[in-house]
Symmetry: C2
Subunit: 196 residues, 2 copies
């Protein structure tokens, strides 16, 4: 399948050089095509990038769905979600390699992409929390609202560290620090949620 091949080649280049530095000529040359042929499959460079990111998101959502099927506590599920989500965040940053400002400026182009993903993510999280409330692990409440707050807190914890990063890559130490902190905060939040 040509599209898959293009996406793979693009992914490789984006992951190494970032969105801006990679040219369509390079991607084409990597798979023995002419640049113009890429446009037969993807109308713009951004569309190609979106296709790459969408694949990542789909894989992430699949992974979380597998976590959902497991017979573990809601707390376990949330902890696993936190870890996986951080990895996914780092992957996106690595692919784009854009400054915070540049991402905001490109945001309109990605609007649907982000909206869809956020909604799916919110549903998944609300589902975990609702199950926890239904099976007595958590106190009764509003799972949707709780999910929103948790998502915003986690997002803030990522952003506040990412914003200080200069060269767009996460080393293991930083990854560990952010993950640990997120798990600690999740623990505090869940302390208030757990049924007595």
């Amino acid at each position: 399948m040509k599209e898959k091949e293009i996406i793979l080649a693009a992914r490789k280049r984006f992951a190494y050089y970032g969105f801006s530095k990679v040219t369509m000529d390079e991607i084409a040359a990597d798979i023995g095509m002419a640049k113009a042929s890429l446009y037969y499959y993807f109308p713009t460079k951004v569309d190609l990038f979106i296709a790459v990111v969408t694949e990542e998101q789909d894989q992430f959502i699949e992974k979380i769905n597998r976590i959902l099927q497991a017979k573990t506590s809601a707390t376990d599920k949330l902890q696993q979600y936190v870890s996986e989500r951080l990895g996914h965040f780092e992957t996106f940053i690595n692919l784009a390699k854009l400054s915070f400002q540049a991402i905001q400026e490109l945001k309109p182009l990605f609007a649907d992409l982000h909206k869809n993903f956020s909604e799916r993510e919110h549903e998944l999280l609300a589902g975990i929390i609702r199950d926890g409330m239904n099976n007595g692990e958590f106190k009764p409440g509003e799972p949707e609202k709780t999910a929103t707050l948790i998502l915003h807190v986690l997002h803030g914890l990522r952003i506040r560290r990412y914003a200080f990063i200069k060269d767009f890559h996460f080393d293991d130490t930083l990854h560990q620090q952010i993950r640990d902190e997120m798990l600690q905060v999740l623990d505090m939040l869940l302390d208030g949620l757990r049924a007595d």
Copy 2:
């Protein structure tokens, strides 16, 4: 006192135009001095800016100390802190009017300023939490660590919204939204802290 007069004039200009756009000539002219005379009192433009920000910080810390003296619950104190802290954050953003990137680049110049303020703030918060633990309002634990986590969560919640702001000013609606969300998150966090 000449220094106070200069700081006041500078504050006015910074608050309206932001750090970068204000010239030392303008500040001097506003109070009928020559620019060279400003350098008699403040060695650099950044030092003048730091003096302005330090005044804001001192006033904020004083306000929080007053809150500390009140005979209210630790929860009340934390809620008031959250509100005041957001106002203080907005004041700084308004004074600087720098993009997120520009702030990071200037950060080394402000290193001591931020370090001092962060430490003072952390002490105050840990103090509130320690009192809450000592008087039985909160479960026993590590007040310092809890304070750190709360500060990071609140910082993240501010940053994730501030980063999307284009023109460096907060309208009342946005202020209200961020404040409400912070108070809700604080409530969740305190649910887990409160003694049963």
